[in-house]
Symmetry: C2
Subunit: 123 residues, 2 copies
Amino acid sequence: MTAEQKKKGYLCEISCINEGKVCTVRNQMNSDRTMTQLASTFKALGDPTRTKIIFALSKEELCVCDIATLLKVSQSAVSHQLRILRNMELVRCRKEGKIAYYSLDDDHIKALMEEGLRHVIEK
Amino acid sequence: MTAEQKKKGYLCEISCINEGKVCTVRNQMNSDRTMTQLASTFKALGDPTRTKIIFALSKEELCVCDIATLLKVSQSAVSHQLRILRNMELVRCRKEGKIAYYSLDDDHIKALMEEGLRHVIEK
DNA sequence: TGATTATATGAACATACGTTCATATAAGAA
DNA sequence: TTCTTATATGAACGTATGTTCATATAATCA
């Protein structure tokens, strides 16, 4: 491999300074699939509208228009974001006539919010 | 306000079904600034490369090229992502000669990772 | 000194994202 | 049935994001 290729950052040329530590971590690392799902979960929480929706639902079960009122966001925007949260299984939906009531899907979500808030408030 | 304006979703026309609950949540809601910072924190964790970096650093202090080797990602990509994590105060940097060692900035980050992993693994 | 090594960063690119707008669906009221 | 209300969703739009490439900086080595 030439110096030119090296300069271009070919992956196999990256040197590793602390091989032991890298090995240790590699053995503890979860599957790529798990880590990607974890990233997706954080990403789903990583938009201000969705963060507020999750926070709100950690306090009360609410319908779409309640959330829209609370957050001062359009019904459509809320609905789109709820779909993302539903697909990620962060929230669940209960229909009562034409009204859709949303709540958190499991307790880890609330715990995540609380841990995250503690971090932010401490800074 | 006309039916036409209503149809267009003007914010002030959004009806609220459970006013009491909305009030309750509003009183508990953190400031917009805090919620936005919380969203930014989750967002920073919400990319597969960064998630893996944070996980790795929760196990060992590592330098840039160690991380690049571990994740099979270019040095440049790692460096860019580390800057984002540094700016968010999720990781800190310690220089030893020309080598930059990174570690988690505080314990909440590790707790977030663990809580998130528990959620993902349970699903 | 000049070469090498570890890291940082700006520009460019393709892709992904969040909102709005228009409209669809479906339940309830008149 | 027709009108209204609550929600869902596709398309379009501008913006943001993550990587690569090229290069800069700064420490160490020969």
